[in-house]
């Protein structure tokens, strides 16, 4: 439903009833509604698919990482991915590398940041949840610094491109982006969903998971790598859209409880729906398109505070 609404709303409104006809026309090669076809297949559909993919990825990875790192305040970005991706994209934009290299570099640097985080936390901290989060904060700070240097040295017109990229956007999404992002994102999402029981057991704490026969270090790293693969690929295409990854896990827990079998699948669909709705707002509430990252932040912050207030008493050790 969120998908249909998302597709139909925009500068050029489409009626939901016309969509089946458009598919038939596309398949049969006729072009009775040429303009509608163009709008639907080349603009609305890739954008909607990307929004859904982004939301689903963020929902699932956010929930999985919160469990794996035993911390309800963790988001994928805390591992350094967002700043890593920003540096990659900024490098490409500042040096005018050209089409798709921005996405590729953002992807590569996001993964690089996660690897750095894991390496730092494995040296002294033996990959404990706290050491991973701390290492992630350090790596984020490092990449933020590099990003600032790039922005200072770049040409002014490139700086605004960099800022635009970081804010996150879905209006420039093409099928190319979707095709590039989908395989790694699906691998990550599928892997995490299959591992959902292990992820639940990991959230009980290292000693207890070990006592239940789990190789804690190995499985935690696998979950983090799967999450990073998925997140890096969607962030590379759409920029750093925040808050979905933090809101979705809490909202999902509120809706389906903490049932370890349902939690991850539910966070997947909820994440997708949330981002589709946010993007519908982004392109419809004002004459100009609002960057989607701004919308998710403006909605996300108060919603997060509300959710935290509602559920703070159920988080052990918080009372």
């Amino acid at each position: 439903m969120a998908l249909t609404l998302h597709i139909c709303v925009g500068k050029y409104p489409l009626s939901p009833t016309i969509i089946p006809a458009l598919f038939i026309e596309k398949l049969s090669g006729t072009s009775e509604h040429a303009l509608e076809q163009l709008v639907f297949f080349d603009i609305r559909l890739p954008r909607a698919v990307m929004a859904a993919l982004f939301g689903a990825t963020m929902g699932v990875t956010g929930t999985a990482l919160q469990s794996t790192l035993k911390n309800p305040l963790v988001s994928p970005y805390i591992l350094g991915m967002s700043s890593g991706a920003a540096v990659g994209a900024a490098l490409s934009l500042a040096l005018n590398f050209g089409v798709l290299s921005t996405e590729v570099l953002a992807f590569a640097f996001a993964l690089l940041a996660v690897f750095l985080t894991l390496i730092i936390s494995s040296v002294r901290g033996s990959l404990s949840p706290v050491s991973i989060v701390l290492a992630g904060v350090v790596v984020s700070a490092l990449f933020q610094g590099v990003l600032t240097i790039i922005q200072i040295m770049a040409q002014p017109e490139n700086v605004s491109a960099i800022i635009g990229w970081i804010a996150g956007r879905l209006n420039t999404v093409h099928w190319n982006h979707v095709l590039l992002s989908t395989p790694p994102a699906l691998i990550g999402i599928l892997g995490i969903t299959l591992l959902r029981w292990r992820i639940f057991v990991l959230s009980m704490g290292d000693e207890e998971a070990k006592a239940l026969g789990i190789n804690v270090r190995r499985e935690r790293v696998i979950v983090i790598l799967l999450a990073s693969l998925a997140v890096s690929s969607v962030v590379a295409a759409a920029g750093i859209i925040g808050w979905v990854c933090l809101i979705t896990p809490h909202l999902t827990r509120l809706m389906v409880g903490s049932d370890p079998k349902k939690l991850l699948p539910a966070s997947l669909s909820l994440g997708a729906a949330l981002l589709l709705m946010a993007d519908t707002l982004a392109k419809s509430v004002w004459r100009y398109e609002i960057p989607i990252g701004v919308v998710t932040t403006l909605i996300g912050v108060p919603l997060f505070l509300y959710l935290l207030r509602r559920s703070i008493h159920v988080y052990g050790g918080w009372t």
């Binding site: 029981w197 009980m204 207890e208 789990i214």
Partner: protein
Amino acid sequence: MIITVEDLTFYYDSIPALRNVSVEILSGELVTVLGPNGSGKTTFLKCLCRLLKPRAGYIRFDGQLIWKMKPNRFAQLVGYVPQIHSSSFPYRVIDVVASGRTPYLSTFAVPSKKDYELAYQALEAVGCQELAERTYTQLSGGELRLVLIARALAQQPKVLLLDEPTSHLDFKNKITVMHVIKSLVKERRITAIVTEHDPNIALAFSDKVILMKKGRIIAYGKPDEVINEETMKIFYDLDVEVISLPNSRLKFIIPKMLNIQ
């Protein structure tokens, strides 16, 4: 299952916590490890459940070296009940207990209906079946301890290792928890190794008592042989009196300094 410990030695960095500990524990017994803080009893327990890897020495279960076993296989033999448990997420009790089935599941599997039945039976065995649907972050200390014992039972282990199961519990819950452990040992012929601070609990419930001090085993044997005026004097530097109740095998020790009027 017979547990054989030979020359077990463990260091935290350069501080010795266990020195040449050797002991043999027979199956179907409740063994209490008694000792003051820092005596090495928790370290001993954690070595037994492979949470700590000893510097030297061997631990064998029925002759098999525990560090040679696969993690899954080991978790099917040994259930561990931690002293402190903190979770950040409000899971249902029954899901927590079902996590005890993890060593029987393949990597991508979730517990089946049968696994949930076994989890429910484990809850029944500790008398907590009515907690199944509750949120376990909202349980009381005593309930939480019993639920964690149920989770270990769901592993269907031959050995239960419990780290201070009576700590931070009220008077009645202490007795309840120890009573549950004792009856599990008797009914299922499993071995339970329990660390404890209170000599009277050790006297009342255990089949054998291990006295530990400064990383060594000082005494090992039947409770009333190990806990008496002499050993308590050496052990805690405390004068005690052993009281036997008439018409009962129960014995208690009372510190003499309580006599100050």
